[in-house]
């Protein structure tokens, strides 16, 4: 071993093996959040206008997985409410919450900016335009979702083409591309609202742009679930590479990272997540922005832990929001209203706790 120390003074060692406790601490938080997710999921299944005791919820779910050998202690109505009505929307809410939060955390890491949200490159506004046009043309809900997905992805494609057009690969140019496309899509959405029939189409467009799981069924969820889960796995596997990208282009490249390919793949995955989430339930603000902040507060900045924890907390947050949406009043409250009302004060609190220097 070669001693490279130049003077006798060394930096004192505080703890013998600090990393082990730090890793274990992060793992503990992740395990606890998984437990929290399961608890929130089951409790939310039991809560509603038609209350089902928690034990019955568990039994009904077990009976679906292991159909034999269990005494039926619940009514058919209970099973119908749990399996056909609440389960699809809660699975949908978990997927959407996890997808938006993971997408947001990825974008924030990639753009080295903690104030970035997943619709940075115009995916949400683009999806809204597609959905609004489909609503205007009177298409069924499945086609509306398909149109939203396509135009969402198209918007991001245009945003990412702008830096190529100017032959400038900087992150700033990409962000500006997103600003341009978002603004343009917002105007297109305005046009569709302007020409929409105010009695029903306009209301449908507005309702869609505020997000809801009210009409979500299992078929719709199963349609996007494979895409969301597989993309989540890819992003979670490349979570350490996002740490490298957040060092800056020069340092990352000097570490052998192919910036264009790695950033491109991460942006593609994060965009697919947001687009799938938006096409399932409409646009939902705040989740992708504040959940990664919350994650950073409890687990630190390392994307190895931040990405998984953001995914799980995002899912829990969305379950809570959806439970409020369907229980607070007689009719369904659009999700964006609740995420905004909960998110804005939560964000102020988080900023105060983190003492983020915004410069």
């Amino acid at each position: 071993m070669i001693n490279l120390e130049s003077s006798s003074k060394s930096i004192p060692i505080d703890k013998p093996k600090p990393q082990i406790s730090a890793v274990w601490h992060a793992h503990k938080i992740i395990y606890f959040s998984i437990f929290l997710f399961i608890a929130a999921f089951l409790i939310s299944l039991s809560i509603g206008r038609f209350n089902v005791p928690l034990i019955q919820v568990v039994k009904i779910l077990i009976s679906q997985v292991v159909p034999t050998g269990m005494e039926v202690t619940w009514t058919e109505q209970m099973q119908n409410v749990i399996i056909n009505i609440r389960l699809p929307r809660l699975v949908g809410a978990s997927l959407v919450g996890g997808a938006l939060a993971l997408s947001g955390a990825t974008y924030q890491g990639l753009f080295k900016n903690p104030l970035v949200s997943p619709d940075l490159l115009g995916v949400s506004n683009g999806a809204c335009v597609g959905a609004a046009i489909a609503i205007l043309l009177g298409f069924p809900s499945l086609v509306i979702q398909g149109c939203a997905l396509l135009t969402g992805l198209l918007a991001v494609l245009i945003s990412t083409s702008i830096p190529k057009f100017f032959k400038n690969n900087s992150s700033l140019m990409l962000v500006l591309g997103g600003v341009i496309v978002s603004g343009f899509m917002s105007s297109l959405l305005g046009i569709t609202k302007y020409v929409a029939d105010p009695d029903n189409q306009l209301a449908a467009i507005v309702y869609w742009t505020m997000g809801s799981f009210a009409t979500t069924n299992m078929n719709q969820v199963l349609l996007v679930m494979p895409a969301i889960l597989s993309v989540m796995v890819v992003l979670l596997l490349m979570r350490w590479r996002i740490n490298l990208l957040s060092l800056g282009d020069k340092e990352a490249r000097s570490l052998g990272v192919n910036i264009r390919k790695t950033r491109g793949l991460a942006i593609f995955c994060a965009t697919i997540l947001t687009a799938c989430a938006v096409c399932l339930c409409g646009t939902i603000g705040w989740v992708g922005l504040i959940i990664p902040h919350f994650g950073r507060l409890i687990i630190g900045h390392d994307n190895r832990y931040l990405l998984p924890i953001s995914t799980i907390i995002g899912a829990v947050f969305m379950i809570v929001v959806d439970t409020i949406a369907r229980n607070l009043t007689g009719s369904e409250i659009p999700l964006s209203i609740i995420t905004g009302l909960l998110g804005a004060p939560l964000f102020v609190w988080l900023l105060a706790r983190q003492k983020v220097r915004i410069s």
Partner: protein, 269 residues
């Protein structure tokens, strides 16, 4: 060309947009354990030269040879296995611990979907112990001092296990003690570990102390490269910095030192 040349720079030129010339016709060769200190005025193009050598920028003409093979023919990851680069001190937006920052040096040796495990962290611990900076391990990289950050950056490059290291003004913003500490570490890395080092500096004494090769880059984009004794003279330094300075032999140290002249306006050329 000799086989033992690790880094060869041949007839290198760079101009922005093909119009604004930054430097031209730069040639030098470095072998195992050699150090090249590049001196030059502000804006002379030292950082651009390092960007070209490190494959961040594509030179307008000329080539860079790593172990005899053109750098353009290497995959990005393979360049990173041979050559490490520390840009001027930068603070990352997100707070990583020093240990997590240093482990990033292992990236070229790992698969794209892998995360560092105990083997990678063992290497980090070993290097930190060698550099006597183990006490920094759990501190937040963004919160440590400039001198400590520079040592962490060098540790990151050592973990990268490359043959060549490039450092862009590693002593920038450091106090006098920390500057000497960094220069001492760099000199030891070359002498003891046999690393080939290229660094830029504004202090002629750094080149004199390391006593290897020096490159003086003038404002016209030309660089004179050679051993310290041949290249560094009062005339060459006066011409470079446009000020009065003296090279004084210090008997006790058995070397020369660069000393500024009087603070009179008449001394400025």
């Amino acid at each position: 060309m000799c086989d033992d040349v690790i880094l060869g720079v041949k007839n290198l030129s760079y101009s922005y947009d093909g119009v604004k010339k930054i430097f031209a016709n730069i040639d030098f060769e470095l072998r195992k354990g050699e150090v090249l200190v590049i001196l030059g005025a502000n804006g002379a193009g030292k950082s651009t030269l390092l960007d070209c050598i490190s494959n961040m920028l594509t030179p307008t003409t000329g080539e860079i040879l790593l172990k005899g093979k053109n750098i353009a023919k290497y995959a990005i990851n393979d360049v990173a296995k041979l050559m490490g680069y520390v840009p001027q001190i930068s603070t990352p937006t997100f707070s990583y611990t020093v240990r997590d920052y240093i482990v990033m040096g292992r990236a070229p040796h790992m698969g794209i979907l892998n995360v560092p495990g105990p083997a990678e962290y063992d290497k980090v611990d070993e290097v930190m112990k060698d550099m006597w900076i183990s006490g920094l391990a759990d501190k937040i990289y963004a919160n440590i001092s400039g001198g400590e950050r520079q040592q962490a950056q060098i540790a990151r490059i050592l973990v990268q296990e490359t043959d060549i290291i490039l450092l862009d003004e590693p002593t920038n913003h450091l106090d006098y003690g920390n500057q000497l500490k960094i220069i001492q570490i760099i000199s030891k890395l070359a002498r003891i570990r046999g690393l080939t080092v290229v660094l830029t500096s504004h202090i002629p004494d750094h080149a004199i102390m390391i006593d290897e090769k020096v490159g003086i880059m003038d404002n016209l984009g030309h660089m004179t490269v050679g051993p310290v004794k041949e290249v560094i003279s009062e005339e060459s330094l006066k011409e470079l910095y446009h000020t009065d300075l003296h090279l004084v032999y210090i008997d006790e140290l058995k070397r020369i030192a660069c000393v500024a002249g009087k603070l009179n306006d008449e001394n400025r050329k």
